[in-house]
Symmetry: C2
Subunit: 230 residues, 2 copies
């Protein structure tokens, strides 16, 4: 398996499928048609892949995605499917995670190696393609990026990232601030969500993944730009 060190010289060059990146950089009207199966068909298959509790979280996340996509003018169907499917790899057996990364050619950095749960988004993007027949690059990117985010991520990815924090079944210290931020702007909610994760990780004495720090810095920068324009 390819391993990767998180040094300053060599940080996270491509931690999720390069293909998505390339296609995401294409203007929307030039995009080829991508296959998006119907929601009910996906739900049926997904129910077999997840515990009832995780399936419920997925449906809840989908509902918030629909609300945020309507509010912020994103493609509602794509946001709904990405939200529904984002955790499709979450109930993988712990011992299957690294072999799955090998199978899919996912590069594992040293933090992910010590916390393999961080990899379920990237594995999930591959599983969504292989098992659920989804090949829309925006949906796949949103699944891949939902744990750490990515500087420059698009609206669909931002919406799934936020919905995962605030869906109705979630309950943790500070969640009301993130919910309130999500009513104001996607960027505010991204910062509030990552802030709550950072505080949680500090309390547990675990390493912070630099990608989530870069995602937070990017969202702060966008907020500042909006304030300067406003």
């Amino acid at each position: 398996m390819t391993e990767k060190n998180l040094t300053e010289r060599n940080l996270l060059e491509h931690n999720f499928p390069e293909r998505n990146m390339t296609e995401l950089n294409m203007p929307e009207h030039n995009m080829p048609e991508h296959n998006i199966p119907e929601l009910d068909e996906i739900k049926q298959k997904l129910r077999q892949m997840l515990t009832p509790r995780r399936f419920e979280h997925s449906v809840n996340t989908m509902e918030v995605c629909i609300r945020l996509a309507e509010k912020y003018g994103a493609d509602v169907k794509k946001a709904a499917i990405a939200g529904l499917v984002h955790d499709c790899a979450k109930n993988l057996d712990k011992d299957d995670i690294l072999p799955m990364c090998e199978k899919y050619g996912i590069i594992v950095d040293e933090i992910a190696r010590s916390q393999p749960k961080l990899l379920h988004g990237e594995i999930g993007a591959h599983m969504a393609q292989e098992l659920l027949g989804i090949d829309d690059p925006q949906i796949l990117a949103a699944i891949a990026e939902h744990t750490l985010g990515r500087p420059g991520m698009d609206k669909i990815s931002s919406i799934v990232f936020i919905a995962d924090y605030i869906e109705a079944g979630r309950n943790f210290e500070g969640i009301e601030e993130i919910r309130k931020a999500a009513d104001e702007s996607l960027e505010k909610a991204i910062v509030a969500g990552i802030d709550s994760t950072i505080v949680h990780v500090l309390k547990k004495g675990q390493p912070l993944h630099p990608r989530s720090i870069l995602t937070r810095n990017w969202a702060l920068e966008k907020l500042k730009e909006q304030e300067n324009q406003g």
Copy 2:
């Protein structure tokens, strides 16, 4: 001036003098003799460069450096001088910081551009060489690294990094935890110090510099190794 974006592909390749890095990688007995002026001579010059308040902080930091160097078996004279001199660029006029970076060829990343105070360590290393006649690479690295740290930094750098947080004149929420950690291990104190900085930066809604995150992750990893050996 050279500017630098903090992207995943291109993160902080060399944010302080490359020369120091190279010499620091040399085994100690192969190192050329370096010039270290006497403490009193440095103090006299330094007093002219700093406000009385900043000079007092510098002397306090030096005192903690001496104590920690004795406790953890580092070169006491080098630690003392690095602690004394670490803030020699701190009272530069705000408008002089970026021109000084240009003069010294210091690469400015986008976070440092919006918070130029972050650059006083690197500028200080150059000023210590030019104005105070110090050319010992360990001392210069400790001055350059005292704000953000560096993964893999040596004992002298670690000691200055910590002493700057806990010297007798400091007083902020959580300082007692850092002082206690410094009695247990350098790595514990580095993590505790950076944790307190992170909480402070989150409260202010400012960007986090990924280098300090990498420094924290490195110290956590060293702690884990020590626990596994112990």
